[in-house]
């Protein structure tokens, strides 16, 4: 009569051999890219597709030039290809959801009268301090790298004043941009200036080469007009922006607290959004 130990050993050996057979089959099929029964892979026939987005449903965070005015021609009207990837939106879209810190503050001056237990507070002013936006910027292919290079150059450009005899806007400060994101009543056409732009280019990531003159087929993503690589973009970087909401004296004349409370001047009618 077989003892318990030998029975367990034999069962273990059988399970090992059966498991080995199945794992070998799976391994061979996997290495050959085949599926049991010679069934075609579902992934071969599936096609990824972006969901439909328009201005009403696109809630991604963007920083763009204002739609009116001549700034678009200055930044995107030239023959340079550097900003060409940003041309459709006339600005930068954060590819991943960024982290945004938004603050609203009201200042009160403390009036500490003599021999009083409670100081009085006199309202001074309300302020919308800087907005801190931090977002990851992944780069996975040629097209992403072109966009990354364009993004860096765009933010470099919008932190500089108009200078140079060949520019019609010379003497003007850096442009006011529009911050958009998360739909109505959140960031809807908020006029901002970029006070600080920083990007972290890590040492522990790959860098992807690109050339701004190359074009990429939108259907099969093949690179056409391929030229010598001229720029390298990190596969992952962190972009940090500090933007300051800014309203001109003229536009603040149209401010009304009643309209603001009712959401009528939050930028939902293609006007500057008060926050």
């Amino acid at each position: 009569m077989a003892d318990l130990g030998s029975i367990i050993n034999s069962v273990t050996n059988v399970s090992k051999s059966v498991g080995g057979v199945f794992s070998n089959v799976a391994e061979r099929l996997n290495r050959s890219g085949l599926f049991p029964g010679a069934q075609p892979s579902q992934s071969l026939t599936a096609r990824a597709q972006w969901s439909v987005r328009d201005n009403a449903t696109d809630f991604r965070v963007k920083i763009t030039l204002p739609p009116e005015g001549t700034l678009k021609a200055t930044y995107f009207g030239g023959s340079s290809e550097i900003l060409a990837p940003l041309e459709p939106e006339k600005g930068v879209i954060f590819p991943l959801t960024p982290s945004i810190v938004l603050t609203h503050s009201a200042s009160y001056q403390e009036l500490a009268t003599t021999h009083s237990n409670y100081p009085f507070y006199a309202y001074s002013h309300t302020d919308v301090p800087t907005i801190n936006i931090t977002g990851d910027f992944p780069v996975q292919n040629y097209q992403d790298a072109q966009y990354w290079v364009g993004m860096v150059h765009f933010f470099r450009s919008v932190t500089k004043m108009f200078f140079g005899a060949d520019n019609a806007n010379r003497g003007n400060p850096p442009p006011i941009l529009w911050l958009k994101g998360y739909g109505d009543y959140v960031f809807n056409n908020v006029p901002v200036v970029v006070k600080n732009f920083s990007v972290t280019m890590g040492q522990d990531v790959d860098y992807i080469s690109t050339s701004q003159n190359n074009s990429v087929n939108a259907v099969n993503f093949e690179v056409t007009n391929k030229q010598e690589s001229s720029s390298w973009a990190p596969a992952m970087s962190t972009v940090n922006l500090i933007v300051q909401p800014i309203y001109s004296r003229e536009s603040t004349k149209n401010f009304s607290i009643t309209k603001f409370i009712n959401g009528e001047i939050s930028g939902n009618t293609n006007t500057r959004g008060f926050i």
């Binding site: 089959v25 061979r28 290495r31 050959s32 085949l34 049991p36 029964g37 010679a38 069934q39 026939t45």
Partner: protein, 99 residues
């Protein structure tokens, strides 16, 4: 003579008491979405192994030659690495061969 099983290439071939008649091939359905496979070293000259892995039995080793008469003349030695063939689906084999 003994009868051939349904997984045999000779199942449809008539036979008398002492010999087989002229070979009658067994048709296998070809579909547009049949998987295109470039034979690699794992299955080189081993249609039986590929049959076992795909269909669970080595007895269907001959179906690859039957499905790809333009690519495989010798079922064994034309099963060389780099040869591009079409793989019949198990569902079609079931209906075609009655297995």
């Amino acid at each position: 003579m003994a009868a051939y099983s349904q997984t045999s290439p000779y199942y449809n071939t008539p036979q008398n008491k002492i010999s087989m008649d002229i070979f009658v091939p067994r048709a296998i359905t070809a579909e547009l979405d049949d998987v295109t496979y470039t034979i690699d070293r794992i299955y080189a000259y081993r249609p039986d192994l590929l049959s076992y892995d795909l269909y669970g039995t080595p007895r269907l080793w001959w179906v690859f030659a039957q499905r790809n008469p333009n690519r495989i003349e010798d079922p064994i030695y034309d099963f060389y690495p780099g040869n591009v063939i079409q793989l019949p689906k198990m569902s079609n084999l079931r209906s075609d061969l009655g297995i």
